[in-house]
């Protein structure tokens, strides 16, 4: 008997709404300033692009204290400003419900998937509640490939500032690409579209009490879709601009959830990724218009200082994770003067593969392991910032492409060391 995550009240509301074609999910937690605009954009997108479809907007809330749920229900849409070619046939229903389970985005998604399942929806799109750059066109771009082109999963494709999304650029995108062979540029973008079939498939997995229930949900969904041969594409959404970051969010906790999920998925799909060679482009739908990007100021000095301290102070930890030669190379980098500070791509990729192997053989507590990666990652960001200080977006993208190729070239070393046999010493 599967665990029921919806309350009776919500089930009654869903019963009253009847079956729908489309579900738009908006996970939220204290997003009152931005959520009403996101709801309005979703509403407008449905009226404008899918007037003949039955649709439901679901806000899955993590217990907001700032009136997020009230903002969702009271967000009004002035339809007179919309240029509607067709008059909508059905009203767009709206529902806000608290989710149950581990606090986090993944639990909110689970509730949305359950609603998709109950209402037998054909397509579902999820968008973050803190978006400032969402437009009604995003709804079309995330849903159209599912409804008209038979895709199962739509990942977002944004233009982002070169210092925005550095975990994606340094680890998640290149590693996912090298492992599963598909170039999905924003595998943890936050906005996704998925077919009802895939949403139901996600629900069958027993991952909702792990890091997947938190920040790990995005990479888990993308990896599952890629590794299990669902039809995947990307939609160009323009610029992604969020509300200001939650100051309480902790980088090392984020790394544990995201990178920990990536490394854990290596074990889940250990029979898939070693057979993949190289990578193929994933179709990008939508017109790639140019956008203005907000600058992202970063403090390179502090990051490189944290890296240097880690190489010195976390030596006993790193000795359990990586070979001595790699450690010596890290120490040599740490000894470089500030103006020449750089982490070569080969070193970085070897280091990430060492962490993957250490995670697999449980060289030390897994949370400790991934948390100890935080200062090294900051070192990569500092090095990347120094190298790209005067480069434009295209040059930065070329640099990331080179890093991806190094991940692909060095993948055989990961494969050769993966089947780690238990130590045979008596």
């Amino acid at each position: 008997m599967p665990e029921e995550i919806l309350t009776d009240q919500v089930r009654q509301q869903l019963h009253a709404a009847g079956s729908v074609d489309i579900v738009i999910g908006i996970p939220s937690y204290n997003n009152a300033p931005t959520v009403s605009r996101v709801v309005q954009a979703a509403h407008a997108g449905l009226l404008k692009h899918f007037p003949e479809r039955r649709a439901l907007i679901v806000n899955s809330d993590g217990g907001s204290k700032d009136g997020t749920r009230e903002a969702v229900l009271s967000a009004t849409m002035d339809t007179s400003v919309l240029l509607l070619v067709k008059h909508p046939l059905y009203p767009v229903h709206r529902l806000t419900t608290p989710y149950h389970g581990v606090p986090g985005k993944g639990s909110a998604f689970r509730t949305i998937f359950r609603i998709v399942e109950l209402l037998q929806a054909r397509a579902c799109a999820v968008v973050d509640a803190d978006l400032r750059s969402i437009t009604p066109e995003w709804i079309d771009l995330l849903l159209r490939p599912l409804l008209d082109l038979e895709y199962d999963y739509v990942a977002p494709y944004y233009k982002r500032h070169k210092y925005d999304g550095t975990i994606t650029n340094s680890i998640v995108y290149p590693l996912t690409r090298a492992l599963y062979g598909w170039r999905v540029r924003q595998p943890i973008g936050g906005e996704f579209g998925m077919s009802g079939r895939l949403a139901r498939h996600f629900l069958t997995r027993d991952v909702w009490h792990t890091d997947v229930a938190r920040y790990g949900i995005d990479i888990w969904m993308t990896t599952t879709a890629l590794a299990e041969d669902f039809k995947v594409c990307q939609s160009y959404l323009g610029a992604k601009i969020h509300d200001a970051k939650d100051p309480g969010s902790d980088l090392s906790a984020m790394l544990v959830q995201v990178v920990g999920s990536v490394l854990s998925l290596l074990e889940t799909y250990a029979d898939v990724w070693p057979r993949v060679q190289g990578s193929k482009p994933t179709p990008i739908l939508g017109f790639p218009f140019e956008v203005g990007l907000e600058p992202v100021p970063i403090n390179v000095g502090r990051m490189s200082a944290t890296f240097r301290q880690a190489v010195r102070d976390l030596l006993p930890v790193y000795q359990q994770v990586m070979p001595a030669a790699l450690l010596r190379e890290l120490q040599a980098c740490a000894a470089l003067p500030e103006e020449r500070f750089a982490l070569p791509d080969e070193l970085w990729v070897t280091l990430i593969y060492s962490f993957a192997l250490a995670y697999h053989r449980r060289a030390l507590d897994r949370e400790h392991l991934v948390k100890s990666l935080t200062p090294l990652y900051l070192g990569w960001v500092a090095s990347f910032a120094c190298q790209t200080a005067n480069e434009d977006a295209a040059q930065v993208e070329e640099r990331i492409e080179r890093l991806c190729l190094v991940y692909e070239q060095l993948k055989p070393t990961l494969i050769s060391q993966w089947p780690l046999q238990a130590s045979e010493k008596r």
Partner: protein
Amino acid sequence: MRLFWAQVILAPLRELGQQALASLSSLLGMLVLILLGLLLGWLAKEVVYRVLRALRFDRLCGRLGVGQEIERMGFVHSCSYLAAQVVQGIIILTALLAGLNALGTPLTRNLVERFFLYLPHFLAALVILLVGTLVSRFLGRSVLIAAVNAGMPAARLLAGLTRFFVMVLTVVAALDEFGISRTTIIVTFAILFGGVVTTAAIAFGLGGRDLARELLQSQFRPQAKPEADDQMRHL
């Protein structure tokens, strides 16, 4: 003459022979028990080793950090093999004590009795030491990683202090379990600890308030995070 021969010479000799025979049977019993213990010990070692290997005990020890700790102590064998050797040792020791008991002398009986009374305390102390070492390592590493990630210059000092205090508590608890001059240990610990704290307090409080403030600020206050860094979006 015949009576004299029988009473003075033959009777003591017969008695001596009977005693020697009784001692010899006790000795033989002891030898048999020890040999049986050696055989059983070897068998148990092989069985336990194979069962633990099948249960991936080495992997579990690696996860808990016991494997690394054992390697660091200079043991060349795996945790499964060491555990099997411990079982073998216990069986041989038990057989040895049973053999001594078979001799039937008051001295050996007393020795065996005292050993078995002391054994639970000894094992409990060993478990306390093992768990304490693991906890101190785990907490020390947690503090070290968190402090480095927070940019604290005294990360290693904080981690070392964490390990030290957990180990002190562990050793005190283990010695207490061993029953080694309980009062002396507690008094020594209290005097030492109190002395260190008092000395530090006086030195910092009176000797150099400004210096202490600067030192504490430089060592324990995380480096100021500039506003710029707070705007980074890593995901």
